[in-house]
Point group: C2
Chain length 346, copies 2
DNA sequence: ATGAAAGCGCTAACAG
DNA sequence: CTGTTAGCGCTTTCAT
């Protein structure tokens, strides 16, 4: 353990350590950054003094000299109220852990919600961060253009929908595969009329997921006519849409673009006295808390957010090391978490 | 707008601005930090050049000189899977926004989950942060002791349960009042046997909330015998506990220490064919996403997390300014969000 | 009201 | 392998 020292006490510096160890400051610096340059006994002596004094290099000084802050910026948006988005929690935590391994930290900043570019520039010019992780790419990636324009390193969670030719590194989850997984599962447990409850057509992510639904139906030779419905991402809108689809008494499977919408379907079932699982199969998307705790449990597509974070950090590190990025576009596969909303003998 | 400049281009410094404006570096520094010292025309000229060049002070240099990073550390723990804790999302976002107003940023760091002290020391010694916000105080506040010991500024979200005499600044929400609100509401809508489903006795927060339940029953002259139950914070455990209480057919109100537990009660009702609201009243705690989207909507106690964040930042700023803190302990009131799980004519 | 000098703690570049 | 020198960009102190 390091000795206890009040902040008001003088912090030990390189010079303190150097003097105490009887070497020059540069040698201490090397002991820290290029230990292989030192003779073994010198290294040992220096390290001993470092431990003894509880010395930690001053970040500001190092940052000023090396022009690298070891900070990574993340613009932090709040999850819109009523939306299943505790996702960020899993993602951000892994991000923090993964960056810590290389001595980096995550700096949160905010920005005008109406201006996706707000905040980036300032941190950059202040040389406060080395790179950015960008998560809100659903509305295009003007941030990417900005950062690319000034030559700042960044990685996005989300592919560049608007510009597939964009060459920046990104990590994303295959939403189409998710929709397909959901639909295949519903077909497998015996549903033949499987509806899709999606977001508005403007949502690239929503349309992507929907293509997976369509692909699965086609592969199984099932009819999709009249079964693809678009609605807004809230429980009530989804509830109404579900009621309409349930009118004919023939639609028994619901693949949904989000857990919120799937929960709306469950509400509709409750109102009609239909049993989730036994009568009607429902699958959500995101494996949010709601899916886990709702009654009777909602089958849902789960994104590998931890893996996304790890891949992103890997890409950030590669970019920062100025190495060419071998594989700058990484698509990860979602999985299906089965719960009772699709169990027929529930 | 600032001019576009690639990172590889030389960033303008104080010297650049000074030369261009025909003043000394010191004058530019004053224009930034003590504008009232400059003559009006000088100030205007300097500001013009700053805007023209898109100059932003280098944080590292400033930090090295002033020994203040304008960074605030927050140890970021993941919400345990299956727990209603998207709370942090609301809290952290407001924290980020509020700190931004004074030019501060939030730095996330992680630590060994088994060591509540891990991570603090290092950031401190590296002079990477000016202060900490501590959120995980439910298991006592060893961090507070550590930071107090080294004289580092910090504010906790959560009162010092273990040591009420502790003098550090904190903000907390009155959990007892929350339990009381929940219980009063259930009594108001006509329930006379109101059970409490709480956490294990070891949880200070849980016991605090419970006292509010007891207070409300006593005030209404209702019997609490056999109605106070403790269980673990998961849906299934709560479901079982609810079944037991429902056996006698007399218990009709459930005040719960968390939304997770309240959702367990809703499961039990579903399994018994009882209607939430009409037959049995259920109130949760935290107004989590689950409470909002579950069917038929869960009445829940809501913590004013945004206000907590704002108060915390206010305290951090006060502490950092070295002013005496007038009111270092701030208790905020929760509110009740009524949904259909307590509406009798639902 | 403005300027000159010094130095925060570190590492890059070079010399030995 | 180790030491010396210089300077990153800023603010503090003191002089004008």
């Amino acid at each position: 353990m390091s000795p206890i020292r009040r902040l008001t006490d003088a912090q030990p510096t390189l010079a303190t350590v150097a003097e105490r160890a009887g070497v020059s400051r540069q040698t201490v610096s090397n002991a820290l950054n290029n230990p292989e340059l030192l003779r073994e006994d010198t290294l040992a002596r220096v390290q001993e003094v470092i431990a003894e004094l509880g010395y930690t290099p001053n970040r500001a000084a190092r940052q000023l000299r090396t022009r690298s802050s070891h900070m990574i910026g993340l613009r932090f948006e709040p999850a819109p109220e009523g939306t299943s988005n505790a996702l960020m929690d899993r993602f951000v935590h892994t991000l923090v852990e993964a960056t810590a391994k290389t001595g980096h930290h995550i700096v949160l900043f905010s920005g005008d919600p109406d201006d996706p570019l707000d905040g980036y520039d300032e941190l950059l010019r202040a040389t406060a961060v080395d790179a950015f992780v960008i998560t809100d790419t659903y509305a295009g990636t003007p941030q990417a253009d900005l950062l690319h324009g000034v030559g700042a390193p960044f990685v996005t969670f989300g592919r560049p929908w608007e510009d597939p030719s964009a060459r920046h590194p990104w990590v994303d989850v295959d939403g189409a595969r998710g929709g397909e997984l959901a639909t295949e599962h519903l077909i497998e447990v015996g549903h033949t009329r499987v509806a899709w409850l999606g977001w508005e057509r403007e949502s690239r992510i929503g349309e992507d997921r929907r293509t997976g639904w369509r692909r699965a139906l086609d592969a199984a030779g099932l009819d999709a006519t009249g079964l693809g419905v678009r609605t807004t991402d809230n429980v009530d809108a989804a509830r109404m849409a579900a009621h309409e689809l349930l009118e004919d008494g023939r639609t028994t499977g619901f693949a949904c673009v989000s857990d919120t919408i799937a929960l709306g379907v469950l509400h509709a079932l409750a109102e009609r006295g239909l049993r989730p699982g036994a009568d009607i199969g429902v699958v959500g998307f995101d494996d949010s808390l709601g899916a886990q705790v709702t009654w009777p449990g909602l089958t849902s597509v789960r994104q590998p957010l931890e893996q996304v974070a790890i891949e992103i950090v890997d890409l950030v590190n590669t970019v920062l090391s100025l190495k060419a990025v071998a594989n700058p576009a990484r698509m990860l596969e979602p999985t299906l978490v089965v719960r009772r909303s699709t169990l027929r003998d529930g």
